[in-house]
């Protein structure tokens, strides 16, 4: 790549095993500062595991994860996260018994994080303000997804890992979510996993395609949209 932008995250040829299963067999991803990068690929290709390996939830056995110029692989997830990586997992992982407010407050790393970000967060997701006292478990799927993203915005994160934000959501809510991600990406870098190619192509600047545990192709999203052959080959009918 010829860009002069600095990469906030570089994943170098990581190998990850879950139990006996060799899930990632050489994944490399560059995430330039300020970009939205999307991981594409079929179900089970290893996109979610890539995110978890970056964070250290499924630590890679080999390879390197470089965040802001420093290798962070092999460290426990809580330390990786505290360096400034926010995680919005698949299926949202909202704390069901905690109120919406507590779900946000638990993400604070310094006292007052939430107060500082409140305006921005409720600007993105006005619904949450109304629901603030409700238990997370009472929220609809779309509201839970908003809460999961909002939770990652509470502390000062320089990188957000967002896994399938459109999964199971109604089209109207997907539009809202896309708009929110676009707006928050003005402040943070985003690494996205997204099955919905239309959403991915409208949001992302860059892409990396993962196929059976290997990163096979990366580039600018604008180029991929016109590359019918690649789309057909790796992503099936788009």
């Amino acid at each position: 790549m010829t860009t002069t932008q600095k990469n906030v995250l570089e994943v170098r040829d990581i190998q990850t095993f879950i139990g006996q299963f060799h899930i990632l067999d050489g994944v490399s991803v560059d995430v330039p500062d300020g970009s939205i990068t999307v991981l594409l690929g079929r179900n089970g290709a290893g996109k979610t595991t890539t995110l978890k390996s970056i964070l250290g939830l499924t630590p890679p056995r080999a390879g390197a994860v470089i965040f802001k110029g420093k290798e962070i692989q092999g460290q426990p997830a809580y330390r990786t996260a505290a360096k400034g990586i926010g995680y919005v997992p698949e299926h949202r992982a909202i704390f069901r018994d905690l109120s919406v407010e507590e779900n946000l407050r638990i993400a604070e790393r310094k006292a007052g994080d939430l107060a500082r970000r409140e305006e921005f967060i409720f600007g993105l997701f006005p619904d949450l303000k109304r629901l603030i006292k409700l238990p997370g478990g009472n929220l609809s799927g779309g509201q839970q997804q908003m809460l999961a993203v909002a939770r990652a915005l509470v502390p000062d994160n320089e990188l957000l890992l967002i896994d399938e934000p459109s999964e199971g959501l109604a089209p109207v809510v997907i539009e809202q979510m896309m708009e929110a991600i676009r707006r928050l990406s003005e402040h943070t870098t985003v690494l996205l996993v997204e099955q919905n190619f239309i959403m991915a192509s409208r949001l992302a600047d860059r892409y990396t395609i993962i196929e059976t545990g290997q990163s096979v192709k990366s580039g600018m999203m604008a180029d991929l949209v016109d590359d019918e052959a690649t789309i057909q080959r790796y992503l099936g009918a788009a």
Binding site: L57, G74, A93, E102
Partner: protein, 502 residues
């Protein structure tokens, strides 16, 4: 409201039936009878709860079924007893623990440097075996011939007793030799227990902090030994109320430290492998009681005399009068009820409220509640969940040990005292819903009531409404009632009353 009804229909119907049945039964009893039976039930419930709350929190947060929880109850009772009545035992043994723990903590830093130099699985295994042997050998050398029996033999509250203190205690020079050997024994143990670079390990403290803590602990141990004679006289001269408070504090701390030791040494290396953890705690529940027997003797101690606050041989008319009279029993609708049992109930309620507030109102409580649902996500938010695990283990263990201390004047102190309480606590947690704090409270109240009313009906018989004959049960029924209730609850709601459906 409607959704609560829909989700818990079966439970609510059965609860209503139980209330009607219960009402029917106590209908035929005089109020003074059922109120005092109920207070007895609450006394039991309170003790069950102190054990069950920790079990439930530990299971909810870390999926660990801690079968060794009853051991901590017994440990608390014995440490409490020693603090209350036989301080010379504490003053002579505490330095041993202080020095050993200090040496282990210090040696963990040595282990950090040691393990990376041992390459290859075979060499690591050899090193492990060698260190284990060295530790065992040094421990035997250090503790051989320690006069534990003589230190244990005491007469109630008198200095010395069966064996006079001067004869029971070893000379200082001998004790210091033991401490030196113990410090050496701590080195291989610390190296064995040192955190490696394994994933999500709790990191070691900086060296200077460890040095400060361990130096302080070792110094405290030495000072305790130097002042052991005057210390014993001083402690026994304190008022029994103060000594009882000290006993509560010491017992609780001992339990919490015991919990930390169990968590670090046995549980932490095996997270994600719950069968191994279960077998280990099960084994510890047996070995732990043996250790307690070895340390404190096998024979049963009579119930510890309650502090003077509940000790005057009289009966107070009301709670207000009790405050000035400190009678050992109080008049409840014309029947005498021991005031110490009221104290047990009050402690249970206070612990329930305090832990409940901690869970609802503090950041730590918020993290615990979140961790019960999804500890991986808590980790992903940048929170060191393993540290919270250790903390909760310490908290739960401390509560169980506190239960042991307050049970000592009620039950007596003997090595087997924990078994039945642990079993009842397990059943209460299952009834209430694993991992639910409120569930543990409700479960223990149900069990306490069932036991108290069961015992009462066995003794007095039961007359059901619309029936003339009095039905008498066998004692076995009262004991079986617990299991019957559990079976009933599990049939209706397999996850327990407050359990979450998975």
């Amino acid at each position: 409201m409607a959704s609560i009804w829909k989700n818990n229909r079966a439970v609510l119907i059965v609860a209503a039936l139980a209330v009607v049945l219960f009402g029917g039964m106590i209908q035929s009893m005089e109020p003074k009878v059922w109120v005092s039976v109920m207070l007895s039930g609450l006394t039991l419930a309170s003790l069950y709860f102190l054990v069950a709350s920790g079990l439930s929190l530990i299971f909810g947060l870390m999926d660990v079924l801690n079968f060794a929880h009853g051991v901590l109850f017994v440990l608390g009772a014995y440490v409490g007893l020693a603090t209350y009545m036989n301080p010379r035992l504490l003053l002579n043994t505490l330095p041993i623990f202080f020095v050993l723990i200090a040496a282990v903590m210090m040696a963990q830093h040595v282990g950090r440097a040691f393990w990376p130099r041992i390459s290859g699985k075979r060499n690591q295994r050899l090193a492990t075996i060698g260190l284990l042997l060295a530790a065992a050998l040094l421990m035997i050398l250090a503790l051989r011939g320690f006069p534990i029996r003589a230190l244990n033999a005491f007469n109630l509250t008198a200095v010395g007793g069966a064996v006079t203190t001067a004869n029971a205690q070893e000379p200082l020079a001998m004790m210091f030799r033991r401490l030196l050997l113990l410090a050496l024994a701590g080195v291989p143990i610390g190296i064995l227990l040192s955190p490696t670079d394994r994933q999500d390990e709790v990191p070691l403290r900086p060296l200077w902090q460890t040095a400060l803590i361990t130096g302080g602990a070792a110094l405290l141990g030495v000072v305790l030994l130097l002042v052991r004679d005057s210390g014993e006289t001083w402690m026994l001269a304190l008022s029994p109320d103060i000594r009882f408070l000290l006993a509560l504090i010491m017992g609780t701390i001992a339990g919490a430290l015991g919990g930390v030791a169990i968590e670090t040494a046995l549980i932490r290396p095996f997270y994600g492998n719950s069968v191994t953890q279960l077998v280990l705690t099960l084994g510890l529940s047996i070995a732990g009681i043996d250790l307690i027997e070895a340390m404190f003797g096998e024979e049963a101690n009579p119930p510890m005399p309650p502090p003077t606050l509940f000790g005057e041989n009289c009966r107070s008319d009301s709670l207000i009068n009790w405050f000035s009279e400190n009678c050992q029993s109080i008049d409840v609708l014309g029947r005498a009820f021991p005031t110490y049992r009221i104290f047990i109930i009050v402690v249970g309620v206070l612990v329930f409220v305090a832990v409940g507030l901690m869970l609802r109102r503090t950041r730590l409580g918020m993290i615990i509640r979140a961790g019960v649902q999804d500890s991986e996500m808590v980790q992903a938010l940048g929170i060191n969940v393993r540290r919270i695990f250790t903390l909760v283990f310490a908290l739960g263990s401390g509560l169980a040990a506190m239960g042991g201390v307050i049970a000592a004047p009620y039950l007596g102190v003997f090595p087997g005292m924990g078994a039945i309480y642990q079993l009842q606590a397990f059943i209460a947690v299952v009834i209430g819903g694993m991992g639910s704090f409120i569930g543990a409270a409700v479960g223990t109240i149900i069990l306490g009531m069932a036991r108290a009313f069961g015992d009462h009906f066995v003794a007095a018989g039961i007359s059901l409404p619309f029936l003339d004959t009095i039905i008498k049960g066998s004692p076995a029924i009262a004991r079986a009632s617990t299991v019957l209730i559990m079976a009933l609850v599990l049939l209706i709601k397999p996850s327990g009353i407050f359990g979450k459906k998975e």
